[in-house]
């Protein structure tokens, strides 16, 4: 029995083997959005330096970094979720609930500092876990599931706190979590942001969770058919986002030295904006921690710079809105080009 080709001749078969642009080109293309964001950041820094003498001072830069910390931490967590093609709207009020719970643990229950802080973080993780279960098992759309969680967290934060701020004045060392300076001149909150950024980077690029995050975002069904337990991993990913939310809650409480139950709404949108400006696709499958960090910095540099130039708060919002439009537009432009 020989293996000669069958006599079937679907006449004139072409043999094109399309081998377009190699790895280097697509790599460059993938970096474009990120470097675009980076270039924007540099341009903003230069612009504001010339526009105001007070901008490029250490105290102002450190202030910018401090104000980036909370949004940045939230954005890191939500980067994972957005890469899966999902969304998490509950991170803003979730952060508030975590802060309130930290206050309950430390102030009302007088628990040790470490326990209280871990309790706050666990609050965030629990919310993320519930989000994950609702999305992966009950198959609720992420938008709806996390919108509901956003309202639940907001309500719980108000109820539990009795609509009153919880002050940490009696808790020694708590304030230092955000405002102490392990590295002289650099607030700990900023240090936490950078450390978490490194952790998030390693998780996203070096661990199986990170690989599956991209895989699910690229093609959830193909991943599932390849034996990836997509339900389990989605729950994990939302829980990870919840952990970041919890940490952000502790950091903002430490920075304000109080848990403010009214705070939080709007933070989720700023964090999502940072992620998107940083080049992570809302459609999933693409994104980076570095981009998110740059995105978060662009947001706070912009707000800080406009403030220093004495531009009204209302106009600041307008400018940030326009920046988001431009960022997403360039992104979609690039995608359309690579699709055709």
């Amino acid at each position: 029995m020989n293996a000669t080709p069958v006599t079937e001749t679907p006449a004139e078969i072409k043999n094109p083997e399309p081998q377009r642009g190699g790895g280097a080109l697509s790599f460059l293309r993938a970096q474009l959005q990120q470097s675009l964001a980076f270039a924007t950041l540099v341009v903003l820094l230069i612009f504001f330096s010339f526009a105001s003498n007070n901008f490029f001072t250490w105290s102002n830069i450190s202030g910018i970094l401090l104000s980036t910390a909370v949004i940045g931490i939230l954005a890191l967590g939500t980067t994972f979720v957005i890469i899966t093609g999902g969304i998490d709207l509950s991170i803003g009020t979730g952060m508030t609930l975590a802060a309130v719970m930290t206050g309950i643990f430390l102030v009302n229950l007088q628990l040790p500092l470490v326990v209280g802080v871990l309790g706050g973080i666990a609050t965030g993780a629990l919310m993320g876990f519930v989000n994950g279960v609702n999305i992966a098992i009950l198959k609720l759309p992420p938008f709806i599931a996390t919108l509901a969680m956003m309202l639940i967290a907001q309500g719980l934060a108000l109820v539990i706190s009795g609509v009153r701020p919880i002050y940490f004045s009696g808790v020694t060392g708590f304030k230092n979590i955000a405002l102490g300076t392990l590295i002289p001149g650099l607030p700990n909150a900023v240090l936490i942001l950078f450390v978490l950024a490194i952790v998030a980077y390693l998780m996203l690029s070096k661990t199986i969770l990170g690989r599956y995050t991209f895989a699910i975002g690229s093609n959830e069904e193909a991943s599932r058919l390849s034996g990836v337990n997509t339900r389990k991993w989605k729950i994990m990913i939302y829980t990870v986002a919840g952990v970041f939310t919890g940490i952000a809650g502790v950091v903002i409480a430490a920075r304000l030295d109080s848990a403010q139950p009214q705070l939080g709404v709007g933070y989720e949108l700023q964090a999502i904006a940072a992620v998107i400006i940083g080049g992570t696709s809302l459609l999933g499958g693409r994104g980076s921690i570095m981009g998110t960090l740059i995105g978060a910095l662009i947001m706070s540099v912009l707000i800080n710079g406009l403030r220093i130039m004495s531009i009204q708060t209302e106009w600041q919002n307008v400018v940030v809105g326009i920046v988001i439009l431009v960022a997403v537009f360039t992104d979609s432009l690039r995608q359309r080009r690579s699709a055709s």
Binding site: E8, N15, L225, S226
Partner: protein, 505 residues
């Protein structure tokens, strides 16, 4: 002599790697039903898509009522009076019948819709066609058959001269089919020309005035109603050209049963499917589109829920409720739709090859040992001869054959013993096909067991040791390779549960 409505000559169309149509011709007269038949992939759909303006032809001419026309968009086709009813419905389930029929053309008074005028128009249309439906009924509440009537009414509301129906009866019961046929007869009397695509041989005699056969994208021939003979049609469809290709012998050493499926049924299609797969065997699954072959695969791997049935692997009954369970038991599924279900197109080759086996390269903390994984990927790229600039290349940019090899590499890296290939060579050019065939043979020689679902009969005959034939969600025959022929397979594949008049061959 009947008046000619549509004449198509010398139509060719090619896609990257495949010549879908070559020099195809047919004619359609006023008030005539032309049945267009051919195996899966014979080019029927491509041809219809050209007529309805979805594809543009590479060469050839189309004349409508004697004048050559250029159909460059679905809109043009509609204006010319060519309407198509696709296999999958294009209706909006939440709107009413009337709203669906006149979508985009609603009668209006200023900015307001004139709902009553709309319903009146729809009532007139439905009455003219003899369809007894209330135009105010919401489409989502209708049966599939009635939805089809709405589709037909919609097509004819454009004053269609030519109506193309792609497998209109695939979802209909017998009595619904009869109603449809009566409707078609009504259309004939009004002078409409109908192009009727069907796999169901028994329908042809009932409805067709003429049958045109396509095979491998080429025009094979036409039969008039009086010379219509199902056996002859099947022979024209499959051709005689492949009977003597190299085929595996079925008396070779047979291994143990590695997979036993018993009484598999699902709510929608599968009905008591039972079969065995032996070690070192390629078990072919043949059947027409929609026969339920892919559904069997998806049910086995837990991608879709099943109503009843058991799966045994290596003699032990296993519970598979999701694909990750199947993978754990060493069953890998290579989807028919590589792009949608098989690959992470935007990711690189390396990520795709390692997708199913990533755990093997992961330490206790969850860190992926990248160099080890990449090493493995490179090995597979080399051994399967995947043509890619590097393992970092985006998978999207590879050719179909090489993408398929990436999917195969994914399962080999996972070391699965049972592989289910669903249309392994779809959209792959001939050279690459040969390589895939060789690969499948190598795999079974190494002791793997393969289920191969294929709509290309030559492929089924060339590779399979045994062939399971399905029709309408049931297994209608299991053939040893040496007993099988294309005609025999087609015969089993068209047993739709209706008494057959051509079974004695």
């Amino acid at each position: 002599m009947p008046t000619q409505l549509l004449a198509v000559h010398g139509i060719s169309k090619s896609f990257p790697g495949v010549q879908a149509l070559k020099d195809v011709q047919f004619e359609l007269n006023r008030g005539e039903v032309l049945a267009l038949v051919g195996e899966n992939g014979a080019g029927k759909s491509s041809l219809m898509k050209i007529l309805s303006g979805i594809y543009t032809k590479d060469a050839g001419s189309i004349s409508l009522e004697g004048a050559e026309v250029d159909i460059d968009s679905p809109k043009t086709a509609q204006t010319l009076g060519i309407s198509i009813i696709h296999q999958e419905m294009n209706l909006m389930p939440h709107l009413t019948i009337a709203q669906n029929i006149y979508i985009g053309r609603e009668p209006r008074g200023g900015v307001f819709l004139r709902e009553r005028a709309l319903n009146r128009k729809a009532t007139e249309l439905l009455q003219r066609l003899g369809i007894a439906l209330d135009p105010r009924e919401v489409v989502g509440n209708l049966t599939v058959a009635k939805q089809q009537m709405v589709e037909i009414a919609k097509a004819l509301s454009f004053d269609a001269k030519v109506l193309i129906m792609d497998e209109p009866t695939s979802a209909l019961t017998e009595s619904e089919t009869e109603t449809l046929f009566r409707l078609i007869e009504g259309l004939k009397q009004r002078g409409t020309g109908v192009i009727y695509i069907s796999h169901r041989m028994e329908e042809l005699r009932r409805i067709a005035d003429r049958v045109t056969v396509l095979r491998d994208g080429q025009y094979i021939g036409s039969l008039e109603k009086h010379e219509l003979d199902i056996t002859r049609v099947i022979d024209m469809m499959v051709g005689r050209h492949l009977e003597e290709g190299a085929r595996p012998s079925s008396d070779r050493h047979r291994g143990d049963v590695v997979l036993r499926v018993q009484g598999l049924s699902t709510r929608h299609l599968l009905d008591d499917v039972s079969f065995e797969l032996r070690r070192g065997e390629i078990l072919g699954f043949a059947g027409l589109m929609g026969a339920g072959r892919t559904e069997v695969a998806r049910a086995i791997i837990g991608a879709d829920p099943i109503d009843s049935g058991t799966v045994e692997i290596n003699g032990k009954q296993v519970r598979i409720s999701q694909p990750s369970d199947a993978v754990r038991h060493g069953v890998g599924y290579l989807s028919e739709d590589r792009k949608l279900l098989g690959l992470l197109l935007e990711q690189d080759v390396n990520s795709n090859i390692l997708l199913a086996s990533l755990r093997d390269y992961t330490d206790a903390l969850g860190f992926v040992h990248t160099p080890k994984g990449k090493q493995k990927s490179r090995e597979y790229v080399k051994s399967l001869r995947i043509k890619t600039p590097s393992i970092a290349a985006t998978t999207k940019n590879l050719s179909g054959g090489n993408q398929q090899k990436v999917v195969i590499a994914k399962w080999l890296a996972r070391d699965c013993d049972i592989l289910i290939f669903d249309e392994p060579t779809r959209g792959i050019d001939v050279g690459a096909k040969e390589e895939i065939y060789r690969l499948l043979n190598d795999l079974v020689a190494q002791g793997k067991s393969i289920i191969m679902i294929s709509s290309e009969l030559p492929e089924v005959l060339r590779l399979s040791h045994r062939i399971v034939v399905m029709a309408n969600g049931r297994i209608t025959g299991v053939l040893e390779n040496e007993d099988a022929s294309q005609a025999k397979i087609m015969d089993h594949a068209t047993r739709m549960g209706v008494e057959k008049e051509y079974s004695s061959r």
